[in-house]
Amino acid sequence: MKKIIIQGTIIILLFLASYFVLSQIDLVNVFKVQKVANKTEQKLGELFWKTIKETANENNNLHILESVDKIVNQICKSNNIDRETIKIHVLNKNEINAFALPNGHLIVYSGLLLNSENQDVLIGVISHEIAHIKLNHIMKKLVKEIGLSVLISMTTGSGGPEIIKETAKMLSSSAFDRSLEKQADIKAVDYLISAKVNPEPFANFLYNLSDKEYATPQYLNWISTHPDSRERAEYIIEYSKNKSIDYEPILSHETWEKLKIELNNLQEN
């Protein structure tokens, strides 16, 4: 019996010692893990953005782009986020939707800009999507939904165009896990508070979404991609309760109004 215990202990010690010695080496750098992951994400980002771009025209109105850019700049600046990592695109589409693609591509539909009751709602939605990007939710969702091997085959060009199209559609119109949505909401509230933006209108917006009477066909997309809106509104309010500070608008009243006018003109045309 003593022999068994000694031999067993030696095996366990051998295992642990090898593990300890190897873990002292910077293996992440040796295997260039980050570099490979970044390259895959970059390729996927370009691929999906190209596919999404084909579904609608890219907005090139200077005032609209500058206004959205100003919002993103302020959120990034206040939260020490490298602005270069967020690539914002505004697409002319009546759908009320915003979503993130791999490698920091953030797509905002003009329908969302036009239908946001005030700038705080829009900033809330953009912060929520930036949070998804920064928390690496997009790649996690892709791996979970379609698998790592299919993703890698896409980057090497062997993935069929139909799969790429369907995956891009999935990214724009399906929800993340409930826990990931919550994480992104909480992170978004942090971003908003740092940027001196009131999170309450964003919470109210979510609360209204849960109200069926509010659910006009236009809003259906947002509701389907962001379920349990009432619950989410409640925890956003709860989380931001004791964090009230002096809020400051990112866009001036005139800029916001002009943005709406430009968007209305765009829609009429």
Partner: protein
């Protein structure tokens, strides 16, 4: 690590074949069980249960194969769930993770090679005892 020993008696052709199969069981199951480490254990366990009343030589080797699979189950399960949590949850690839995977792979490889070697030798009726597992089997498996 591996010792060729004289068994109590000379095993028959049929015994050698069955004993050798107990090792092959875990190898064949690798094809199915690669992502799920428990499949290998189940295959060996079923084979072990099926041969509980077999001759001593067969039982002895079934037990050694089962014990080796059982210990690898712990190593591989930890690696499996760690990988799952990296892919689906918030864990990231760290030096610790890569180190663990390398060690787990080395141990699996050693076990794999030893299993093949033992399966070949046992098929010829040669009795092979593994370090630690052989001693443990001698304690568990009685005539």
């Amino acid at each position: 690590m591996i010792q060729i020993k004289q068994f109590n008696y000379e095993p028959s052709e049929h015994e050698a074949e069955t004993a050798s199969s107990s090792y092959l069981m875990s190898l064949i199951a690798i094809i199915v069980g690669l992502p799920l480490p428990i499949v290998n254990l189940f295959a060996t366990l079923i084979f072990y249960l099926g041969n509980r009343k077999a001759t001593y030589f067969v039982r002895w080797h079934c037990t050694q194969a089962l014990l080796s699979q059982l210990s690898m189950l712990f190593v591989n399960s930890y690696a499996f769930w760690w990988t799952v949590s990296i892919i689906f949850k918030d864990e990231t690839i760290t030096n610790n993770y890569i180190a663990y995977i390398i060690v787990a792979l080395i141990f699996n490889l050693v076990e794999f090679i030893t299993t093949i070697y033992t399966a070949i030798k046992t098929r010829k009726g040669i009795h092979v005892e593994w370090w630690f597992y052989g001693t443990l089997t001698n304690n568990i498996c009685k005539v």
